[in-house]
């Protein structure tokens, strides 16, 4: 969390994360370039750069896309999510080197503008086999640029978390474009069972993890209580919630989190104002509900971030009867104080 914007709000974990990103990228480049120079020494430096960085970007994109669902399935993967934006920017830089060199090599120094040339030098748009695959890569790079350039809390706040999230969900469109770019380009000219199998496996892993996550979450979302007394909905028994933790429920089609802490119960919206993180999977630390994604904090009794922070989320009224917790489904205005239920 921060009250003003800095390029990077560094801390020890971010530095460790970035060191591993750099190490991973270097290992990849050394492997690809080393193996190519040993087994295929007649390569040219331009081709080596284009291929090394292009394939590196694809590999990193796969790593990025599995982190989200892995964290949803097991919170022990949380450290991978914390600084994923740096991984995203690194992947974009690799893609930019690939795209930049390709545009320079294949489309510049001609008699027309390189970008115009990219769209017009192969006009077989109606053919699948002859389709100008470069155009797909170009649009993927534009999406990755938009994402990388807005990959900062300044843009998150100014664009609004909702729009920012939608913008960054375009990574799936970029992934689709990248896969088509590779299959209609490199793999069409140079078909390799190994490469095709590897990319197919990558797709299966990414799709499989996302489907599994979505099935689990949709099951939670469909769980509705049938025990409603005077507008109060039964959610669970008190002892079902661990100390300083919460359980997530759906009331009025919204996800809410009921926290138990200091012999008290409070209910707040489950959606963090930062990036929509699941607050119900968070923990009460120093009296504040702490988001598991990036550590944003809220006071459980009023949904307000502790001063000097200004984020606010909706709160809910609770009551208990015979060890049973009931919630009133009507959300209070964001930041509204609600007395915790003493247990």
């Amino acid at each position: 969390m921060g009250v003003n914007y800095q390029t990077v709000l560094w801390n020890r974990n971010k530095k460790i994360y970035d060191k591993w990103i750099i190490l991973g990228m270097l290992i990849y480049l050394l492997c690809f370039i080393g193996i190519t120079l040993i087994t295929n020494p007649e390569t040219s430096i331009e081709t080596l750069i284009i291929r090394a960085f292009g394939t590196l970007a694809i590999a990193l994109l796969h790593v990025i896309l599995v982190i989200g669902p892995l964290v949803r399935l097991n919170s022990r993967f949380s450290p991978l999510l914390y600084n994923r934006r740096h991984l995203g920017v690194s992947m974009f830089l690799a893609a930019l080197i690939h795209g930049g060199f390709s545009i320079f090599q294949f489309h510049s120094l001609g008699n027309v503008n390189p970008i115009y040339a990219l769209f017009t030098s192969n006009m077989d748009y109606g053919s699948l086999t002859n389709f100008p695959f470069q155009v797909l890569g170009f649009f993927a790079l534009i999406i990755l640029f938009i994402m990388a350039s807005t990959s900062h809390d300044f843009w998150l706040k100014n664009l609004s978390p909702k729009l920012w999230k939608r913008l960054h969900m375009m990574v799936y469109l970029a992934y689709t474009l990248v896969i088509l770019h590779v299959f209609l380009g490199a793999l069409q000219q140079q078909p390799s069972l190994w490469s095709i199998s590897m990319l197919s496996l990558g797709f299966i892993i990414i799709a499989g993890l996302h489907i599994r996550t979505s099935l689990i979450e949709s099951k939670t979302d469909k769980t509705k209580t049938e025990d409603i007394v005077d507008g109060w909905e039964y959610v669970c028994d008190i002892d079902e919630i661990p100390e300083d933790r919460a359980k997530i429920f759906i009331v009025n089609n919204e996800r809410i989190a009921v926290f138990k802490y200091d012999n008290k119960l409070s209910a707040i919206s489950n959606v963090c104002k930062h990036q929509g993180g699941p607050l119900g999977e968070g923990k009460v630390i120093d009296g504040c509900v702490t988001c598991p994604w990036h550590g944003y904090q809220y006071l459980p009794h009023n949904g307000q971030s502790p001063p000097p922070f200004t984020e606010k989320i909706a709160t809910y009224n609770l009551k208990t009867e015979n060890n049973k917790i009931y919630v009133h489904p009507e959300a209070m205005a964001e930041g509204t104080e609600v007395n915790p239920v003493i247990i």
Partner: protein, 265 residues
């Protein structure tokens, strides 16, 4: 969902649980091994690059008989009664013509004259090309003499070839690979920029032959052939030989796209 108390991770705090650390380490190790595997598979499944050469940083001065039949070339003596015709090209995706304008304005009948040109050599499989990057590096050695021009002999009135139209600059050394779908856009720009189109063929013994393509009257051809570049095609036409280069005189409309993946080189 696993949410054991000691497993809760906050990025800006230094109290990561042992289990979370272990899971993260496992992921990092797995990812690094994955990156090595991916890099190895991508690197090892690349097609073999050919031993073509582009002397980008080395300049070579060549003296020979200049001719345009129809593309600018320099006829160079390599041994007694043996000549090599070096195809002249401009910088980037451009023909040699813009770089020859200056000397043409001083020497109206340039064909047949002896020129000395300094540029970057490109060579592969018996063919040599020269990239000119500066018109100041072209000088007239001897004025024109038509007797020096290469002889043109007819080989066949109508022959059919299966091959791929390439741009010779990239194919013979500037790019690797300089053919096929990935290179098609670049080749189209090169040929649109005035670089002569060349038909590259491969026989069953994997022996390649190259044909400079012209129109039926032997004039340069560029824009009309763009839709057929980088695609295996069936092409027929009249074959003539200009010493060590074949020329194929064609009707562009008769080219048939074979809808096959590129297989040359």
């Amino acid at each position: 969902m696993k949410n054991e108390e000691d497993d809760f991770y906050v990025g800006y705090l230094d109290n990561t649980s042992t289990k979370t650390k272990k899971t993260t380490r496992l992921f990092v190790v797995f990812s690094l091994l994955g990156l090595i595997a991916i890099a190895s598979i991508f690197a090892l499944t690349q097609n073999t690059f050919k031993n073509s050469t582009f002397e980008l940083t080395t300049s070579t001065k060549i003296t020979g008989v200049y001719h345009e039949m129809p593309y600018p070339m320099l006829k160079v003596k390599t041994a007694e009664n043996t000549y090599k015709n070096i195809l002249l090209l401009g910088f980037g995706k451009s023909s040699a013509n813009p770089f020859l304008e200056k000397i043409r304005s001083k020497t109206p009948k340039l064909s047949g004259s002896i020129l000395s040109i300094e540029g970057n050599l490109i060579y592969y499989n018996g063919k040599t090309l020269l990239q000119i990057t500066n018109d100041e590096k072209i000088s007239l050695v001897e004025k024109t003499n038509p007797n020096r021009l290469p002889k043109v002999e007819q080989v066949a009135n109508n022959m059919e070839f299966k091959g791929e139209v390439i741009d010779p600059k990239c194919y013979f050394g500037v790019m690797k690979p300089g053919k096929g779908k990935i290179h098609r856009s670049c080749a189209a720009l090169c040929i649109a920029g005035g670089i002569p189109p060349v038909l590259a063929t491969n026989d069953e013994n994997n022996i390649s032959e190259y044909y400079l393509i012209t129109d039926k009257k032997g004039n340069p051809i560029h824009k009309d052939i763009l839709p057929y570049i980088g695609k295996p095609s069936l092409i027929n036409g009249k074959v003539v030989r200009v010493e060590d280069w074949y020329q194929l005189q064609i009707d562009v409309n008769s080219i048939q796209d074979l809808n096959q993946p590129s297989k040359i080189y």
